[in-house]
């Protein structure tokens, strides 16, 4: 019975996009996934505006100290079950911002991260492959 629930959940993932101090390259690549060439809607994935409807939170950018407070509030507002995906090298490992005075630690030291998509920025193919891995991980 548990498998069925996850199967239904992964057939229609609504994605909320949270940028916590990124350089906007990853954000552009995420939007590329929706274009005719990649068309992520064929997997039932939609980009939505309200955090209350989110199933997946895509985090882009290195977590800075000001954004951390806001991001924690955003995560608390999301209805569970909700997955966190770290897109780009910055949230995965802080990239070149490591040790900066204004930056927090990598995302997985603050929040439970379900999937890492490294790359600077990751290609749309990499993001789609990452989502497929997330679906496999959740349904198993």
């Amino acid at each position: 019975m548990m498998g069925l629930k996850e199967k239904i959940l992964t057939k229609s993932l609504w994605v909320f996009h949270a940028s916590v101090g990124s350089c906007n390259n990853c954000d552009i690549e995420i939007l590329d996934c929706l274009t005719p060439r990649f068309d992520i809607e064929r997997f039932g994935i939609q980009l939505i505006g309200s955090i209350r409807h989110a199933d997946v939170i895509l985090v882009t950018g290195a977590m800075n100290k000001k954004a951390l407070k806001r991001f924690k509030r955003v995560y608390a507002q999301a209805p569970k079950p909700c997955f966190i995906v770290a897109v780009g090298t910055c949230p995965c490992s802080m990239h070149m911002f490591k040790g900066s005075y204004s930056m927090q630690s990598p995302l997985d030291e603050i929040m439970p991260v379900d999937l890492y998509i490294p790359g600077c920025p990751p290609r749309p193919e990499a993001i789609i492959a990452g989502i497929a891995k997330l679906i496999n991980k959740v349904t198993k």
Binding site: K5, I8, L9, K11, S12, P36, D39, E41, R42, G44, I48, G49, S50, R52, H53, D55, Q77, P79, K80, P81
Partner: protein, 308 residues
């Protein structure tokens, strides 16, 4: 027992949910094909609804709790009753005097309770969405009543859906006359505005006010809204077909083929209008409905009185 079956299964809730879900999917698929995309698979609408019922519901702090919970429920139940009445008149020939007025009232209930739900959620963006929805409602309900007046004049002043259907079976469909065409155009834009599809989606504008009226809803409560919208995707095109395009035939096979063909055409027209237009501002929507469609409707009423 048979009343319960016709309420819950055919032609009531379950049947209209399945057809409405496929209708919504078709609209999304047409949109995708217009943009050279592949589009979602056919079961997408059903999975969207099922998923929402598995999620957690969050009630925002400081919201009016009773109104917040009860408005999706009332929305859904009003839409189910409307669907049942319409489908029964359409498929089983059961109708009563004045049912068209009852349907008019039942169609106002969903918009009204979406507005009330948004106002009770204590979110500023929902407030903006609700105020836009009220203004859009003022514009489209008005035009739809004009369109209904044309129909009532054409069917010799009868307020019964069965009489309207029978009148078309005898004299041919209303769409064949000039006033019928005008009424059909008015009703088509009414569907577009009622479902909140693109030129008229200012109340749920995703890029400006997130999700507008439904921004604070999550989980099953959002699922109720979504189910109601899916049901409306079935019943609003069916209402327009019943009022304007009833095919004069006694053979049930031809009747159902004609119905599904006309349903497809209406969904296609809706997605064409959706894809060639940008989102309008509230002022532009009001101007379009009041100063363009309303004079057209007056012309239609005059033509209908003349018997054209």
């Amino acid at each position: 027992m048979s009343a319960l079956i016709s309420y819950l299964i055919f032609p009531g809730f379950l049947f209209s949910l399945v057809v409405g879900g496929i209708g919504w999917w078709l609209e999304r698929k047409f949109t995708a094909r217009f943009q050279y995309r592949v589009g979602p698979p056919w079961y997408q609408t059903f999975f969207d609804i099922m998923k929402l019922f598995l999620k957690e519901t969050i009630i925002p702090k400081g919201a009016s709790k009773i109104l917040f919970i009860i408005s999706p429920l009332i929305t859904l139940s009003a839409v189910i009753i409307f669907n049942f009445m319409l489908a029964e008149a359409c498929f089983l020939d059961k109708s009563f005097v004045g049912d068209i007025l009852v349907m008019l009232y039942l169609l106002i209930v969903p918009s009204l309770f979406i507005i009330l739900g948004a106002l009770s959620s204590r979110n500023p963006l929902a407030l903006v969405g609700a105020s836009r929805e009220i203004k859009i409602m003022l514009s489209y309900e008005f035009v739809f009543i004009v369109s209904l007046i044309i129909i009532i004049i054409k069917s010799n002043g009868s307020l019964m859906l069965a009489d309207i259907i029978n009148n078309q079976l005898i004299h041919g469909m209303t769409l064949k006359s000039a006033s019928g065409v005008i009424g059909f155009i008015l009703a088509l834009f009414y569907i577009q505005a009622k479902l909140g599809i693109v030129p008229f989606d200012a109340a749920e504008a995703e890029q400006e006010i997130m999700a507008g009226t439904i921004i604070e809803y999550s989980g099953p409560l959002l699922g109720f809204y979504r189910t109601a919208k899916t049901l409306l995707y079935f019943s609003l095109p069916l209402l327009v077909i019943t009022l304007f395009g009833q095919v004069a035939t006694s053979n049930p096979v031809y009747k159902y083929m004609a119905l599904s063909g006309e349903y497809l055409i209406i969904i296609l027209l809706i997605s064409v209008i959706k894809n060639i237009n940008p989102r309008l501002r509230v002022k532009e929507i009001l101007t379009f409905f009041w100063f363009f469609l309303f004079p057209l409707g007056i012309l239609g009423i005059i033509l209908a009185i003349k018997g054209l």
